[in-house]
Symmetry: C2
Subunit: 278 residues, 2 copies
């Protein structure tokens, strides 16, 4: 421990001689991408980490984050801080801004809301497959064409975004290496994705992946669906599949992402260690 | 709970019509202040929250944050997100960038390091009183002259910064309303500030304040000093003094600030509730 403290004291001391802005990553580009698949323009926030000059040619992992307008800023701040202190590698963060999130982030068309009532605000639901096609064929191509990326990709989302992450893992496990689902809305359409998980995870076709999922203080039904999902991992022996479930009883649906995205990053890079330079 | 989720769905849905950058607070100004007291130029990062038009004349609380180059980005992201979701009020964040942090953030001149050895890198130590004068007479004047500020002020720091926060609370309790000390280096100079706390807190002259303090996985001596500090609150009856102690056994000295600053913000604004508009 003492070495860390001494390193910290000296590092900050010597920072005096450097430009003060060096550590204030405002590299939060807003970029506009035209999607033929969605037939619309989509905005993304992109955070590109600072790289030491001796690592400039190293390919970078990419974290694709849903609801970018909500969570990009905190997640990119985590990623930059943790990279700076050698806890995780440099990671590009792509925050996808929402357009019609009911459409993009739900797997099926269902007008039934959380309370079981018909709600016309869900009329566009069911566009998840098309949205994932956009991510795979257009967004990933865009990002990988502009930055030197590694093979390791993370997909992270909250609420309907968490539902999307799990739906993607079940239907297109090859798309990402790590999946982060913060309070996934598994209740949607009579637990459609939860039932899908029961089928797909039984087949144990999903290997070599990491999955983080969590729940906050949401009430009965919402919470129970996540607990049911969690049971699937207790009873099956998924080979080479790492998962972490975390419960945040003191966090609301909207504050939970703050600790959960941090814990998820630590989970995904649990075994990562910086290369020793020789 | 369901109301929060529905509100979230609709809010994000309607966000489509707005400019995408509205939620990406890049209002992280770097400002240069000349200090006559310190006889040097000092950089600060300033985050000014977005304000609803009907609240534009409302005075804002200010959070003064030490080691700005390290923690400003995460803390300002927390503050903006929590404000947006109505968990805390809008808060201005002033991140003070370090110059000679050994000098500014230690109360006395001592060359003895954490292991008890003489270390010349501590030769400038002991400038805390002068630094606090700068904060009070120059920095606060600067901030309060440029922004419409409320009376409520928070002082937050980590490591030597945490030591500074506690030293400030003991010697100048009138300067701030809430104090946040993440892993304070109470070991410094034969536990000088810990001994000061024993004297000052016994006098119970410090009332109407809030104090958050914490420790991570630092080893024996470092940790024990924080535990000793914590005991002072168990045995004394400080009136109108709210304090919270938190232990992060799975966080290192450098990762602890991530959860600790979040928990500290929640603690400071625990009883805050948004005004209902009529």
């Amino acid at each position: 421990m003492k070495y860390v403290i001494i390193f910290f004291i000296l590092l900050s001391y010597h920072a005096n001689a450097q430009t003060p802005a060096r550590y204030n990553h405002v590299t939060n580009d807003v970029q506009l991408i035209h999607s033929q698949i969605l037939n619309q323009d989509r905005y993304v926030y992109i955070h590109v980490p600072k790289i030491d000059s001796n690592q400039v040619n190293k390919p970078l992992d990419v974290l694709y984050l849903l609801d970018g307008e909500n969570h990009f800023h905190i997640v990119s701040a985590y990623v930059e801080y943790l990279r700076h202190w050698g806890v995780i590698p440099p990671v590009i963060v792509v925050g996808i801004l929402s357009a019609d999130r009911v459409k993009d982030l739900t797997p099926t068309n269902s007008l039934i809301d959380f309370d079981g009532n018909v709600d016309s605000r869900y009329k566009t639901s069911g566009g998840n497959e098309q949205f994932l096609n956009f991510v795979k064929q257009e967004l990933m191509t865009y990002v990988e064409g502009r930055y030197k990326t590694s093979r390791f990709k993370i997909f992270a989302g909250h609420s309907f975004g968490g539902l999307t992450v799990i739906n993607c893992m079940l239907n297109h496990p090859e798309m990402f290496d790590a999946y982060v689902a913060v309070s996934p809305s598994l209740w949607f359409d009579n637990k459609y994705v939860l039932r899908l998980a029961e089928q797909k995870l039984a087949a144990a076709a999903i290997t070599g992946k990491k999955l983080f999922y969590s729940v906050g203080n949401e009430d009965g039904t919402f919470r129970n669906d996540v607990l049911e999902f969690n049971k699937l991992f207790r009873h099956r022996s998924l080979r080479d599949f790492e998962h972490m479930y975390k419960d945040y009883p003191f966090e609301s649906h909207m504050t939970e992402p703050i600790p959960a995205y941090y814990d998820a990053l630590r989970f995904v890079y649990k075994t990562w260690a910086p290369e020793t330079t020789k």
